[in-house]
Subunit: 282 residues, 2 copies
């Protein structure tokens, strides 16, 4: 497995793949890898001849007072996991490699990027869209893999790729969960044991909405309310949002016609946790 | 010469070039072609095996009350000129081909895009950056050619390409001028005969600044003043700006160290005219 830090080496590696006509799958990450990331790598390996993972904790997607400084950095463990997973290369750039001095350009997806997590984290999705664009242009993969756990991010990247006619395919990979339903997240390690137990309420809350949807409830507000009750019953009261939205565009609807997605963001202890579920009738 | 209207045909044509390993040069235009555009095509043909020109009057770079509706559309003449110039393909998309419904993504280069022409035309350069990004992603050329006549646009595109690590080279091609120095522009046809004569003052104004620079003047404000006087003497009093700036970044300087660029934007009759000149000491 090759570890690549600079643009020139990356370019050389990618040109080698292109010359051989090898389809390249790309998994952008911020490191602190867990089984969710590894499922992205597995999916990339299934569909592509070569798999490259980037590890870059992107400063521009963290707001003031957020956890950029404390975000877990676990490179040795990440490298071992990726090696075992059969990854071909890691792109591990410094901040200056991604953002040379004097940069002025940003990519914005609006209004999608200012809703939900974007409302709670101003500038976050502009940072995400911009860094993903840069990584796509540096790596130039045929396919890029994103976890559906970050559903708004996945939707936004797909929107950006479509709007700007970027020459690659975006694949969303299902969320990996603990036995009690908690979605794997690098930020789960911020939780105490008691908070960890509490956090399982997110999955139960989404399932409650799912039940009501199957029983015929089609008012998004009612579905949100049923999920919100489960959170509050579990003592989770710092709720950023519980939202039932159209699953493709995340638009608000008065009444549900196609299976919607429920999205939740809450704060538990020091962690901000997000999760989502596309509701289904069967 | 192939005339291409849709993405699929473009993709097919570009894949053919890629397969043959042919270097593709791209000249984005809004049509209404003149000798300035043809010099871009000539430059592309010199450096590349294949040359493709796009003709697309981009609605998003025109503000309310600007000349989008009246912008000259002269496709038959454009096609004949490009055929004679040895162009290989024209990309002639409809608005919906560039902007499918539901688009939300924009590219912004700030502060560069809100200065000078960007101050007079809010949103203009966001429209330019976004459409150029889309065209680059659709065409995927190795090199793109821009006229130095639109100096701020050229600077902004270079900045965007650098900041977002886009995998292509941007080449600026010198301005083509009439015998009296007036820069060729599709908007010159808005001028009456009297206004056309008046418009030659832009070139004289820049040359006056050039003279003063050669004589040792290094205060940007003094150089701007000397050019502004020539414009006023010729009866041009609707001056958007006369600006002497650092030539690479268009930043303002208190005192000139490296050869700067002088940029002018004025209104003459119904036309908004822009021009520029990189000053030199010899």
């Amino acid at each position: 497995m090759k570890i690549i830090a600079d643009r020139q080496t990356l370019n050389h590696w990618m040109n080698g793949c292109a010359k051989e006509g090898e389809r390249v799958g790309f998994v952008p990450t911020m490191g602190a890898l867990h089984a969710g990331h590894l499922s992205l790598v597995r999916e990339a390996r299934k569909q592509c001849r070569r798999t490259i993972v980037s590890i870059f904790v992107n400063p521009t997607q963290f707001g003031p007072g957020e956890d950029f400084g404390h975000y877990p950095r676990t490179f040795e463990a990440d490298r071992d996991l990726l090696e075992k997973a059969g990854c071909d290369a890691i792109f591990l750039p410094e901040v200056e490699t991604i953002y040379p001095p004097g940069g002025q350009t940003v990519v914005a997806v609006e209004p999608l990027g200012s809703q939900l997590c974007g409302a709670a984290r101003p500038g976050h999705f502009q940072g995400v869209a911009t860094v993903v664009m840069i990584l796509f242009n540096l790596v130039r993969p045929q396919v890029a893999y994103f976890g559906l756990k970050d559903y708004q991010q996945y939707t936004l990247i797909r929107q950006m790729v479509r709007d700007l006619a970027m020459p690659l395919e975006v694949v969303g990979v299902p969320t990996v969960r603990e036995r009690d339903g908690l979605a794997l997240s690098s930020r789960n390690r911020y939780l105490t044991e008691a908070e960890r137990l509490q956090a399982s309420a997110l999955f139960r809350a989404m399932n409650r909405a799912q039940d009501h949807y199957r029983k015929g409830e089609s008012d998004p507000r009612q579905l949100e309310q049923s999920a919100r009750e489960v959170l509050l019953e579990s003592g989770i009261d710092r709720i950023d949002y519980v939202a039932v939205r159209e699953a493709e565009t995340l638009q608000e609807r008065e009444c549900i016609e196609t299976p919607p997605v429920i999205l939740i963001a809450v704060r538990v202890g020091k962690a901000r946790l997000i999760d989502n579920m596309v509701l289904s009738l069967y």
